[in-house]
Symmetry: C2
C-alpha cells in the first residue's frame, strides 16, 4: 500500500538524513505587585528552554526538567502554545533545522527559590504598548502610531498602503476600532513586519527607528507574545487565574490580577457579580484589613468547579 510504503520509508530514514533538533521553550508566568511577570534567563533575556531528549518521558516532562534545572522552579499548570520552525526568525543561519515547541506555565511567585541568572521581569517591559490600565500610553500615540502610519505610507502602491493602515488600525485600535487585548501576537508581528522591533533588524543595518522594549533571544519575544495572547484569552472561559493567586485572597486582589494580565481595567461591581454568579469562589469567613478602608472578605477558589464545569471564567 502506498501509505504503508511511505511510512516504512520514513522509519528507515529516521535519525539519519534529517538534521532536526527539537527545543522545548517555556513561558512561565506569575503575578506579583499587580504586575504580570515572566521568568527569564540571563542578561540577553531568554526564556527557559532546552532540547527534547530521548530520556524525556514526554514533551511536558522534558519541559519541566529543563525549567527546574535552569530556574529551580517546579511547574504546576502547563499548556502547549505553538510549534515554530522558521529558520529566519531565530537569528543565526544554521543549516540544521530547529523546531521550537512552546508552552505556557502558570506559577505563584511565593514558591520561587533564589538563583543567580534568572529574573522575574514584567512582561510589559517587553511590550510597553500592551499595558492600558492607566489609559493609552504616550508611547503609543507619540511614537508607535506615527511610525506605523509612516510604514503604511511607504508601501509600493496605494492598495497596499490602505491595507497596511487597516491592519494596523485593527491590531492597535486606531480610528474607530476597539482595542482587543487578545491581539497581542498580531501587534508584535505587525511591528516586526514594519521593522520597528530589534529582532526584525538582525543581519540588516539598523534604521534607528526602533520602538522601546528590549529584544529577546532568537524568537522568544514572539513566543512570549503568543503566551500572553493565549492567557488573556483563556482567563475568559476557564478558571485559570486561580493558578496565579495565593490560596486565600480578596475579590479586589483577584480583580487586580485579572487586570494585570489583560492590561485593561474592568468595572468593579460587574466583575464581582460575574465571579459570584459563577460560584467560582467561596468565603473563608475571615476578613482582610490590610489596605485601610472597609475590610474585605477573604475568599478561596472552589476547586469543585473544575469537576463541575470545564468552562466558566472571568470576564
Amino acid at each position: 500500500m502506498q501509505d504503508n510504503a511511505t511510512r516504512t520509508g520514513k522509519r528507515e530514514r529516521a535519525g539519519k538524513d534529517h538534521d532536526v533538533s527539537v527545543d522545548l521553550i517555556a513561558v512561565v508566568v506569575a503575578v506579583a505587585d499587580q504586575e504580570p511577570r515572566v521568568l527569564t534567563i540571563g542578561e540577553a533575556n531568554g526564556l527557559p528552554s532546552g532540547p527534547f531528549e530521548l530520556g524525556h518521558r514526554s514533551l511536558q516532562f522534558g519541559l519541566r526538567t529543563w525549567v527546574e534545572q535552569q530556574t529551580g522552579h517546579r511547574l504546576g499548570y502547563i499548556e502547549q502554545l505553538y510549534t515554530f520552525a522558521d529558520r529566519d526568525r531565530i537569528g543565526d543561519e544554521r543549516q540544521e533545522r530547529v523546531i521550537s515547541i512552546s508552552y505556557l506555565a502558570l506559577a505563584r511567585m511565593d514558591q520561587v527559590a533564589g538563583s543567580p541568572k534568572r529574573a522575574w521581569r514584567s512582561w510589559y517591559d517587553f511590550f510597553p504598548w500592551e499595558d492600558r490600565r492607566a489609559g493609552i500610553p504616550l508611547l503609543v500615540t507619540e511614537i508607535l502610531q506615527p511610525r506605523l502610519l509612516a510604514w503604511a505610507s511607504g508601501a509600493v502602491d496605494a492598495t497596499f498602503c490602505g491595507e497596511r493602515r487597516r491592519r494596523a488600525a485593527i491590531a492597535f485600535g486606531f480610528d474607530d476600532h476597539d482595542w482587543n487585548e487578545e491581539f497581542c501576537l498580531q501587534r508584535y508581528e505587525l511591528l516586526y513586519e514594519a521593522g520597528l522591533v530589534e529582532e526584525a533588524m538582525r543581519g540588516r543595518e539598523a534604521n534607528g527607528a526602533l520602538i522601546p522594549g528590549p529584544a529577546m533571544i532568537a524568537d522568544h519575544r514572539r513566543i512570549l507574545a503568543t503566551g500572553i495572547a493565549r492567557l488573556r484569552s483563556k482567563i475568559k472561559y476557564r478558571p485559570v487565574v486561580f493558578e496565579l493567586m495565593p490560596p486565600v485572597f480578596t475579590l479586589l486582589q483577584l480583580q487586580r490580577t485579572v487586570e494585570a494580565l489583560a492590561g485593561v481595567t474592568v468595572h468593579k461591581q460587574n466583575f464581582r457579580r460575574l465571579i459570584e454568579q459563577q460560584d467560582l469562589v467561596e468565603e473563608t469567613g475571615q476578613m482582610s484589613s490590610d489596605t485601610g478602608g472597609r475590610p474585605a472578605k477573604l475568599f478561596r477558589f472552589r476547586h469543585a468547579v473544575l469537576d463541575e464545569r470545564p468552562s466558566a471564567g472571568t470576564k
Copy 2:
C-alpha cells in the same frame, strides 16, 4: 553565561545524540451532501502525512507538499492543531521518538482530483456518537452510556467511581448536563481511557466490548478528534465556514454546512438573523430553485470582512 552555555551545548549536540523524527499530519476537511468529510489514505485509514525534511521551507510548506503528493490535492486554508509525542499512543514500540505536528486544512470537494488510494470519508464514520442532527443516536443510549457507566463503576474505590461518572456525564451530556459539541476530543479520550476504542487495546487482549467506529493508524483518530473540536469551536468566532462553501450558495446550504460540522441543528430564523446582521454575505441578485419550494436568494461571501473584523462567525 549559563544560558549561553546551555544553548551552545544544545547546538553541539544537534543532529547527533537525539533520535527524533518529525512528522507532519493533516486533517483535511470538506463538506459535501451535508456530510463533513475527511481525506484518508489507504484502507487502514491514515491521515495524509510525511516527515518534515531539510528541503521544506517551513512546516506548512512541508505539509502542503506531502498532501499534494499523496492525494493530488492542493491545500488552501491551513492552521496548526497540536504537537503530539506520546510514545505509547502510536502503536509500535520503537526507541526512536516521533513528534507529530498536526494541522487542520479546509477544502472544497469540487477541487478534488481522482487518485486510487485516498477517500473522503464522513468523519461520523469514525465518531458516530458525534452526530446529533437527527437526535441522540441510539448507539449512545443503548451501548455507549451503559458501557461508560460500567467502566465508572469498575473503579477501585467509590471516590473514583463518582469522578469517572462525573467526567463521563460532562463529556457526553448525561444527566442534567448539556451536550457541548466542542468536547469532541475529551469524549474520544474518555473512551480511550475506558478501553472502549480499538486503539486503546493495542498490545493488550481485546475485551470484546468495543464501541462502533473504525480505528485509524497510530493516533490519527485522536488527531482527527482534535481537528473536529477545533473546527467546531472556530466557526463560532471566525468566518471559516466559507472556506468549505462553493462561491455561491443559499442561506440554507450554509446552515446545513454549519450543522454538518457542529453535529447539531440550529434555529433557522435565528441563524439567518445572525449571518445577516454580521454582514458576512451579500446577495448575488440571482435565485436558486433547485429544491422545489420558494426559490432562495443566492449569496456570496463578503471577503472584505476578513479585513474589517478578525472576529465574527456563525452561532
